[in-house]
Symmetry: C2
Subunit: 150 residues, 2 copies
DNA sequence: TTAAGTGCAAAAGCTTTGCGGGTAG
DNA sequence: CTACCCGCAAAGCTTTTGCACTTAA
């Protein structure tokens, strides 16, 4: 993520904390900073690894709690994926995903026509929609090549 | 799932096994049968629980392996979700999801206008699309009520 | 001051694997 | 016969939790 966008996001986080009366800790700032630099869809453990390179003092539990907290206030989001470990996403604006059902990889795509899809009314279900993603499910290049040459 | 659709799916599985030379075991048939009866998005453990009620002899490892195998041949699919345990979905036809980012629940919806969305060409990326889902992300009724009354 | 966050270590939850034996085709 | 599958038990990976201590506001 570029320097400017990143700074804007960090400022947004400061604002959200102030608004909600949440203390802004050094550790959470490191976690946020690291996640904004990772532009794929890291697991908590991958974030921990990157955090550890910058500041080995931050504990595993803190990284897990920080990610949950950052997602809760909305400065990052959780990615939807077919795998077994939670994945986080620093991109909060509308975009879409290619999802490999073999290796669980998630690849970002942008497509204006997908952005324009008609969002159904879900108010009758009591469900409040904040956002949407289109997931194109299938098989990525690597997994296809692996299957073709057994 | 109604009796007829279910039988068709079981027949489809028999056919796929025959085509691919895979042995068709009693245990996998039980797992498939059970998953087709569950119309939400069960975790492997929830499937195991249901399998155990029908046949306590089937082991945990077998359920995990069977689910993976059933998904691989395509008679069931993996659901994309924000949580930490793999979820399976007996619905293989096009449909869409409400995803609660608080409790990770996935609710099925159908919507013809979403079904008709323009699928982008991903061949340049080497990605083969087999399927798509729209995920409407947000907060479900229960979680909203919990937040409003703290 | 006080509500919230942190580190640690242990527990809990989810999934895979190695292996000896069994079975469908 | 020969892949492939099964059950078991152990290991491995991922996440949460209780508690004593610290810190932002």
């Amino acid at each position: 993520m570029n320097r400017q966008t990143k700074q804007a996001r960090i400022d947004e986080y400061r604002r959200l904390c102030r608004e909600q009366g949440l203390p802004l800790t050094e550790q959470r700032m490191v976690v946020l900073d690291v996640v904004l630099d990772l532009d794929d869809h890291p697991t908590a453990d991958q974030v921990l690894e990157a955090v550890a390179r910058r500041d080995p003092g931050v504990s595993r539990a803190t990284v897990y709690r920080a990610l949950e907290s950052l997602a809760r206030v909305g400065v990052i989001t959780k990615a939807c994926h077919p795998g077994k470990a939670v994945r986080y996403d620093s991109r909060t604006e509308t975009h879409h995903h290619l999802v490999c059902l073999r290796c669980d990889e998630v690849i970002d795509i942008t497509d204006e026509r997908l952005d324009a899809l008609p969002v159904p009314d879900t108010s009758a279900l009591g469900f409040e929609v904040s956002d949407f993603r289109v997931q194109l499910r299938g098989t990525c290049r690597r997994c296809r090549e692996l299957e073709e040459t057994p």
